[in-house]
Amino acid sequence: MSFHCATCSDEGVPMTVTSISDEALAVCDRDTEVMTDLVGAVEPGDVLLVHAGVALAKVEQ
């Protein structure tokens, strides 16, 4: 069984940006497309807290 919340298939998962695909879209781990409108500019290597396809926060290093 999945240990993630199946409601949205994640529960606030830290994901690392691998590339930028659009102005407010980043590609993260496992080729997941993530909306980055709420966290401003991101660059490869940034760690994002992702929920339901949206980055809610950058995780502080």
Binding site: C5, T7, E11, G12, M35, D37, A52, G53, L56, E60
Partner: protein, 374 residues
Amino acid sequence: MRFVDEYRDAELGRALAAEILATAEPGRHYKVMEVCGGHTHTIYKYGVDDLLPENVELVHGPGCPVCVIPMGRVDDGIAVAHEEGVIFTCFGDMMRVPGGHGTLLEAKAEGADIRMVYSPLDALRIARESPDREVVFFAVGFETTAPSTALTLMRAKAEGLRNFSVFCNHVTIVPPLRALLESPDLRLDGFIGPGHVSTVVGARPFEFIPADYGKPIVVSGFEPLDLLQSVHMILLQLRDGRCEVENQYKRVVPYDGNAQALRVLAEVFDLRPHFEWRGLGFISHSGLKLSHAYSDFDAELRFRVPGIRVADPKACQCGEVLKGVIKPWECKVFGTACTPERPIGTCMVSSEGACAAYYNFGRFSRGEKRLVGA
């Protein structure tokens, strides 16, 4: 994985458990509510409660978005899904939530085109790829999930997509907490605050809990060490006679939230006058609907939504579980008539639901709790 493994360190966990044991006053019983279903899941997945002394009890709150959806809204969703030409999209767990007349999964088996998606963006993609169909997204969730729906709607509007709409069931976290605190049958010493909701709204909206009700609250992360530290912080407040909002999850939660997310929510949503919650009844200003600027995307205006109201099954005690009045195993149908395979109540459906967490991790009674030092 970075930012995960270090919060699951067993040695640090045992050290925190020892500090909790040293801080808890013998002879006093502490009841602490974790508001969020994600916390409930972590507690039972990692056995966090096994590390707590017998007199520190965790009770489970109404923070699983699937669990609080009333049966009538599921029936409404099924009615929309059966409309001619509709592709109805929803998160996975919603498929199995029982309405008064079956589940979305059963409606799919009857021929409705219902598809599971991982984010509203997936629903938008389906709408782009199926211009001759009406694509509806069944939006559920607190302020954590609502920005995802809002940003998707902003994209749909910018693209001029005409065949996409949202059946909005988003809810807000503060009104049900206030309703819980007003409940006369509730005895709590403090709250573990919802971490991911707080990445959006911040910790400040919870200031009413210490100010108006005299209870401490600690906004917490979702790893086992986060939860143990949060319990310890609550016990320290109680020991020291303090009562305040503390933020244990500072690595992602700004005290004032995410300003951009709050702007997006304000643009796309308005508060409903009232909204029905499973087990809690109608709560004022606790639900969101699409704002006037986005009313063209409102499935409740685009389709005939019957507005069904269904009373919860008499045998089901989800309401008392959601209020923390009873433990899941105290419900009459827990683990017998109601199981994750054939749920009666919503708390047994979602993996974040308290009943499912108890069932899946083998907690059938308090007697099976492994005590510290035992």
